[in-house]
């Protein structure tokens, strides 16, 4: 095959999904929808900025260094749980769940499958559109949240600069979680038709990713380690990736408080109830004395798995989900 043929093959295989992608992007990026989705994403920042963290960051209550350090920790947790967590997964699920099943229900799939486009190409186009939209919206919400915190808490420019520096790393991590949820959602949308079953499945999925790990570690901590349950805990793999990326971002200066939260949520640090309670109180300015550095000690990392293994596992699961969707859509009879 000549280079030209290879190129043509590439554009013909990439070409069709790109067309579906473009069309889906147009639908997902409708102005009204965009405004609503972004507004929803910014609400927690307003709430935390205006209510929860207001006292802690009253100007002058903290040294600049401490402010930056503490807030970077807060922002890492906030982003993990909300922006790159529940928010984007919810967004992916609500937009992607109907991608295929709605076309089938409404009968538009019949014309699509009779067109000269591979059925999987059609799915890939949708997959890419959702991936791009989610990441773009997330970026806006990340910067938007920083602006809101800046405005509401009166952060020093240096602290803000540190936060902006985090965006790249959080975004990097987001690519993984977005791929994972995008693939799983599309698989569910292709494999199942009923609204109820799809909703139940996606709820189970979110619970599996964010809920099962913490509960297991809480009620059954020894089994979690002894039976290597972290292998099948998606929350751990995501957390493991997030922590290693965050450590990169802030050169290993993760606050014990962030470690405690991440430990509870993902199992990446040895953290239980005690550490959580401690974390909740060390956050406030009253319990912290910068002169004697009365910080609680750093928590120990669990290091169950190399983060690369976690990344790889997430990608394998995503690929498997897309593979399942491919098989399902190619066997499907469209009436």
């Amino acid at each position: 095959m000549s280079f030209r043929q290879v190129l043509e093959k590439f554009t013909t295989t990439m070409g069709k999904p790109a067309i579906v992608m473009e069309q889906t992007l147009k639908e997902l990026m409708g102005l009204r929808r965009l405004v609503l989705v972004i507004a929803a994403g910014l609400i927690p920042a307003i709430f935390f900025g205006a209510v929860v963290w207001r006292e802690s960051f009253r100007s002058g209550a903290m040294s600049l260094e401490m402010q930056t350090h503490t807030f970077v920790g807060y922002f890492l947790i906030f982003s993990f749980i909300w922006i790159a967590g529940f928010y984007i997964t919810y967004m992916i699920i609500t937009s992607g769940m109907d991608f295929v099943s709605k076309e089938e229900e409404e009968g538009t799939l019949l014309l699509m499958v009779s067109k000269p486009i591979g059925r999987f190409q059609f799915i890939i186009g949708k997959f890419l559109a959702l991936l791009i939209t989610t990441l773009l919206i997330e970026l806006v919400v990340l910067f938007g949240s920083i602006l809101i915190f800046w405005a509401l808490l009166g952060l020093e420019p240096e602290s803000v600069r540190a936060l902006v520096g985090l965006v790249f790393w959080i975004f990097l991590y987001s690519i993984l979680i977005v791929i994972l949820f995008d693939a799983l959602t599309i698989a569910i949308s292709t494999l199942f038709k009923g609204k109820v079953i799809k909703t139940v499945l996606t709820m189970l999925l979110v619970m599996l990713v964010f809920g099962v790990g913490p509960i297991l570690r809480m009620v059954w901590p020894t089994a979690y380690e002894n039976y290597h349950l972290y292998y099948i805990d998606p929350g751990y793999h995501l957390g493991n990736t997030y922590v290693s990326i965050s450590e990169q971002a802030i050169s290993g200066r993760m606050t014990p408080q962030s470690q405690a939260y991440l430990g509870i949520f993902t199992g990446t640090y040895k953290a239980g109830m005690e550490e959580l309670v401690l974390a909740m109180f060390t956050g406030s300015s009253e319990s912290f004395d910068p002169d004697i550095r009365a910080m609680p000690p750093s928590l120990e990392q669990t290091n169950y798995l190399n983060p690369l293994v976690s990344v790889l596992l997430c990608l394998v699961v995503s690929a498997a989900a897309l593979g399942g969707a491919k098989v399902a859509i190619e066997r499907r009879e469209v009436y």
Binding site: I19, Q23, T108, L110, L111, M112, V113, K115, P116, E333
Partner: protein, 307 residues
């Protein structure tokens, strides 16, 4: 253009299409008729790759049915077409065009031209969701035609249209066939209309082909050697022909046409001319009555019933 061998579709225990061998020749307009539930739509969906056959095989210009190259050749308008209701017609068609491989720059122009051609020009910027049934049917045809396919597979393309709409669609199909050499495979229940456009016909019943062939031949085959004659001296002529024993049956209708069913058509033709000359009568009309599609359909179906 279309060729199937033993094409079969089963839904559980029920066989909707039962081993049909279809042959649609390039450049023809080929009608596909049969009673409700005969398996027309199911066959068409197999040909377009929407559903898979349970057995047998099919090819579109040599490409296996359901493959992308096969689909590239086909423009398909389903019995009930559903569109993206939130899109405006021209955007919808441009999208479909691009999916079929039409360049972006051309897609929009093609979409607008086609909408104009199908008398939907005024609705190019209207949302498809608001279209009436007949307009949707036209749009269905438009999306089938958008990439200038060599083969059109149309499932009841005129079902929801008003009388003048039907005629104009049929005219357009004829135009496509004659000017662009598009092969058209279409189903319809309105035989009198179908008859005006088709060259070939396949009739199915309960999933099997019961009659197929060239329309001219079929008409002859089903005409039952039925002749019509009208002269200025009907009675005299009828008597002479009767003496020669050249027809099985004859009657005269209210408009003074003599109907004759003959077994020896060549002899009858000759004798009629001779007799007219001999008697010195004026010949007003002499023709072989050709069976209409409707006749063919009725006869075949009654034969099927008997079986």
């Amino acid at each position: 253009m279309i060729e199937t061998r033993n094409l079969t579709k089963r839904f559980g225990d029920f066989t909707a299409v039962d081993g049909i061998n279809l042959a649609v020749q390039q450049g023809t307009i080929h009608g596909f008729v049969g009673p409700n539930g005969a398996g027309k739509t199911t066959t068409m969906k197999m040909l377009t790759g929407a559903i898979w056959c349970s057995q047998g095989e099919g090819y579109i210009k040599g490409h296996e049915i359901g493959s992308t190259p096969a689909k590239q050749i086909i423009g398909y308008s389903p019995e009930h077409a559903f569109f993206y209701n939130d899109m405006v017609a021209s955007d919808y068609l441009s999208y479909m065009a691009r999916i079929c491989g039409v360049e972006r720059s051309e897609a929009r122009k093609k979409a607008l031209d086609l909408l104009n051609w199908l008398d939907l020009g005024g609705f190019a910027e209207s949302k498809v969701g608001g279209f009436s049934a007949g307009m949707k049917q036209r749009l269905g045809l438009a999306q089938a035609l958008i990439h200038e396919p060599e083969l059109l597979i149309l499932d009841e393309p005129t079902a929801n249209m008003d009388p003048s709409g039907r005629i104009s669609i049929l005219d357009k199909l004829r135009e496509l066939s004659h000017e662009s050499n598009v092969t058209i495979f279409l189903s319809s229940h309105i035989l009198s209309e179908l008859e005006q456009v088709v060259d070939f016909m396949t009739m199915i019943d309960r999933g099997r082909i019961v009659v197929e062939g060239n329309m001219t031949e079929l008409r002859r085959r089903f005409s039952g050697n039925h002749f019509l004659l009208k002269t200025s001296q009907n009675e005299k002529i009828l008597e002479v022909i009767k003496e020669k024993g050249l027809f099985r049956e004859s009657w005269t209708d209210t408009e003074d046409f003599i109907h004759m069913i003959s077994d020896d058509t060549t002899a009858l033709r000759k004798v009629v001319v001779e007799v007219v000359v001999q008697t010195g009568a004026e010949l007003e009309h002499f023709s072989e009555e050709r069976a209409s599609l409707q006749d063919i359909y009725r006869k075949t179906m009654s034969m099927e019933e008997e079986e």
